[in-house]
Symmetry: C2
Amino acid sequence: MAIHHDFENSQPNYLPQPALERIAQMSLFDTSCAGHQILEHIANKWIILIVYALTQGKKRYGELKQQIVGISPKMLIQNLRNLERYGLIEREVYPTMPPRVEYSLTPLGKSLVEPLAILGEWAYQHIADVKTAMQHYDDQPTANDHWQSK
Amino acid sequence: MAIHHDFENSQPNYLPQPALERIAQMSLFDTSCAGHQILEHIANKWIILIVYALTQGKKRYGELKQQIVGISPKMLIQNLRNLERYGLIEREVYPTMPPRVEYSLTPLGKSLVEPLAILGEWAYQHIADVKTAMQHYDDQPTANDHWQSK
DNA sequence: CGCCATGCTTACCCAAAAGTAACTTACCCA
DNA sequence: TGGGTAAGTTACTTTTGGGTAAGCATGGCG
């Protein structure tokens, strides 16, 4: 617990030192490191959105499908299965008919909410910055045309 | 600044309230929302590793290639271009011969370091939890075989 | 003089991921 | 008897990600 503390006021440097120090200790650059692999699975648009949705409490498959606009049934179920496998969500089946299945965050899943929320906030807060950077980049005619991922 | 504070001791609830409140305000579930789109681009294994690498300072292409084990030249250059486009890194060309190009984080890029570091730390700290969850899941023979992403 | 080494970039191609849409199961209800 | 419903599942196709290997420029060196 108490993972991140006062990292803003300790160093004169631009970058928060404790973060840097801690990054240096994780061998995330090594693809064979489990931390790297987990990151690879977690850093996924749908995973993030599903976890976000479940912060609001138990949700049924249909509710998730409705809330996460644009997700296909296949992607939803696939990512739900993966999240269950990683121990981040729990799947409860009520053997009624029509079937009823509820998904909820496990304690481990809940512990991931804060890191993801921080990332989401960053995205949300820097929309304008990124947009203007992209326009600026795209406007310069210097042949940077064929790399855009959209 | 001061984005995340004492979220552990304020609520009786398991989940950090401030994060939840703020998530609710972002319309990340809407694919047409710019925040959603940015998240989609940032939540990418290679992007994260490149930003991590650049927290250590300016780096040349070759240095990055060496440090980020397993990245192909194409992925490296593609993600560098994207990061530049988003305004997260800066590309400096020294017109010497052999050419020399240095990449560094912009202030915007530096602001992303802390969120990513927190995510990386989560991954690193919960390796054991996730591993045991996966073993447990894989051991139950109830035909969950065809979904695994590895 | 010409060939090699270096650093970066691109072309080409295949494999994996993700979207689409139709199908399933089993009960209830009209 | 047949339509509706919830939660998937499957087959099929398209899109994207990613690896391999070659291109290019130029200064150094033999």
